[in-house]
């Protein structure tokens, strides 16, 4: 469920970075304030645990594919939302760095989809109120299961929204949604069961570990949510004012009316594009701004594209040649006795 850099525009990736970055800052402050020095090693080791857990595959009955254990909700139940969020975020950073899962720009989106959603949306708004402070066995199990499924569904929805809003991939919103949600429902059902079973297991062996945050006030936990909402709506309105068509296009795309909506605004869009050309980054295009049907500024001109391709390929060859030369030189240097 990792977003990739290649599918994101800087606007979408940057907004998600801002949101996740702000959440990391808020969570860090909260953890520091809590002044429980036991949390430092516990978070570190549990982060490593999530990693270790993800290395074991689970077979999903019926689908034949294998899913992975995401663990956002489990950590929130064991550690409380702030430490859990930081832990998941750190896991995602390491996945981005070591497994190239996602990438640097996509990191913000991934932290949001897999960490923020579970720790700051599902945990405080769904799990906490429904599970109650002294939840009985069955109720807690049911709520945990549903919450785990929901966290994964919302995360998948995030992937779809971010991808379509970026518009690098042409896949229509509804089609992408129709593919992503059921797959993640299947994964979620299994992951939910596992989460329930692990929580039960731990609760039986060491009851003190489960829900230490149960008696915390809910309002502090909602701070990251409020900040995220403000940042996202701020970014949306900023992009909207900077490029009304971009947003309109995105919405049209989301509702599946892209084909109808595009030609109408072609002229308007060309003007916006002209404006864009004069700006600092000439090719900087908002999603869909280059969708115009008519040739002009907005569609890549046939001549420039071909020359661009030829020039680009040549520079690539040149770069490879330079790399080759450097490598040879390096090998010769290191072959000499020092």
């Amino acid at each position: 469920m990792h977003m990739a850099d290649a599918l994101l525009t800087p606007e979408v990736g940057g907004t998600m970075w801002l949101v996740s970055g702000a959440a990391v800052a808020v969570a860090s402050r909260a953890v520091r304030r809590s002044a429980d020095s036991r949390q430092v090693p516990l978070m570190g080791v549990l982060g490593a645990f999530v990693f270790a857990a993800q290395m074991i595959n689970v077979s999903i009955p019926g689908t034949g594919s294998s899913g992975h254990f995401a663990g956002g909700l489990l950590l929130a139940i064991l550690l409380g939302p702030h430490p859990a969020f930081l832990t998941i975020a750190s896991v995602l950073v390491v996945q981005a760095l070591f497994f190239a899962d996602g990438g640097l720009l996509a990191l913000g989106a991934n932290i949001f989809n897999m960490g923020f959603v579970a720790c700051y949306l599902v945990y405080p708004l769904i799990y906490r109120p429904l599970a109650g402070v002294e939840a009985s066995g069955f109720r807690r199990r049911a709520v945990t299961w549903l919450a785990a499924i929901l966290a994964l569904q919302l995360g998948a929805l995030g992937v779809v929204l971010e991808t379509t809003a970026s518009g690098i991939a042409e896949l229509p919103f509804t089609a992408f949604l129709a593919a992503m949600q059921p797959i993640h429902l299947a994964i979620g059902i299994v992951e939910g069961l596992i989460t329930v079973a692990v929580v039960e297991f731990v609760a039986r062996a060491e009851p003190g570990l489960v829900d230490p945050a149960a008696r915390q006030t809910g309002r502090r936990v909602l701070a990251p949510l409020a900040i995220a909402a403000a940042l996202i709506s701020g970014a949306l309105s900023w992009f909207a004012s900077a490029d009304p068509d971009g947003l309109e296009w995105s919405i049209a795309r989301l509702t599946g009316e892209a084909e109808i909506a595009v030609p109408e605004n072609a002229a308007h869009r060309a003007a916006a594009e002209l404006q864009g050309r004069a700006a600092l980054l000439p090719d900087y295009a908002f999603p869909g701004a280059d969708e115009a049907a008519e040739p002009g500024w907005s569609t890549p001109n046939a001549g420039t594209t071909v020359s661009g391709l030829v020039g680009g390929t040549l520079t690539l060859l040149l770069a490879v040649a330079i790399g080759w030369a450097l490598r040879l030189r390096r090998n010769r240097l290191s072959a000499w006795p020092r």
């Binding site: 990739a4 850099d5 290649a6 599918l7 800052a25 402050r29 429980d36 020095s37 090693p41 516990l42 978070m43 570190g44 080791v45 549990l46 982060g47 645990f49 990693f51 270790a52 857990a53 290395m55 074991i56 689970v58 077979s59 254990f69 930081l86 390491v94 070591f98 497994f99 899962d101 720009l105 690098i168 991939a169 042409e170 299994v190 079973a197 060491e206 570990l209 980054l281 090719d283 900087y284 295009a285 569609t299 890549p300 420039t304 594209t305 071909v306 661009g308 391709l309 030829v310 020039g311 680009g312 040549l314 520079t315 770069a319 490879v320 330079i322 790399g323 030369a325 490598r327 390096r330």
Partner: protein, 268 residues
Amino acid sequence: MNGGGHSLLDLGTLDRLGQGDSAIHRIDARAKLAVTLAFVLCVVSFDKHAVGDLLPFATFPIVLLAVSGVPVRFVLRRLAIVAPFAVLVGVFNPLLDREVVASVAGIGISGGWLSFVSILVRFALTIGALLILVATTPVPALGRAALRMGAPRVFVTQLLSLYRYLFLLAEESRRTLTAYRLRVPHDRPPSWRAFAAILGQLLLRAVARARRIHEAMLCRGFDGEWRLIATPRMSGRDWLFAVGWLGFFAVLRLVFPAHALGLLLVGG
């Protein structure tokens, strides 16, 4: 998104490569981190049909690969492993956007194909650069760099402790899984029930370890604050690296030398 054993192996390989020594390894982590970030931002900021303008950016990973001695094959293999998601999502572009936008030797190229190739090029560039960053920089140095660049201390602490115990717990989980496999007749992955039991065990062991680590920390005067000795300043060489590459990216981003070169050769 990645299969068990291989990822652990790759983790070890990258970690070992990061501990290596070369002109690139010796550059300050802050400089490398900032340049890589700028690189990724530049690459993704291009128009969705851009291919030609993106290719010159390959200079950066290629030069770094060459100078650092990081095996090319390793980077390519890792790229191939994580490619499926980007490819799967992008592969619909040629089907959905069939408008011909260019023709080479009489064959029309549709916008969809261009944007699909663009996704692949972006993918290879951004992920490649990131892999090279990690293969030439030890993680502790990256953590310090992030700290100096303003990341919250609690978060960096968390990252570095996660990294510290990653290998240990991965090894533990591998052993547990082996023990499980040796006791079941079939060669299937564990059912969710067995999986949950394995996880529960691992989790309790992890918690017990965290407790022992905390005791060891207390014995050495831990008071909740995680202290690190400051890193030395960036040297002239580090600055040269940073400013040089940033300037190079700026030129590629604003002047489009690929276009100019192409125009010279094939004309408008």
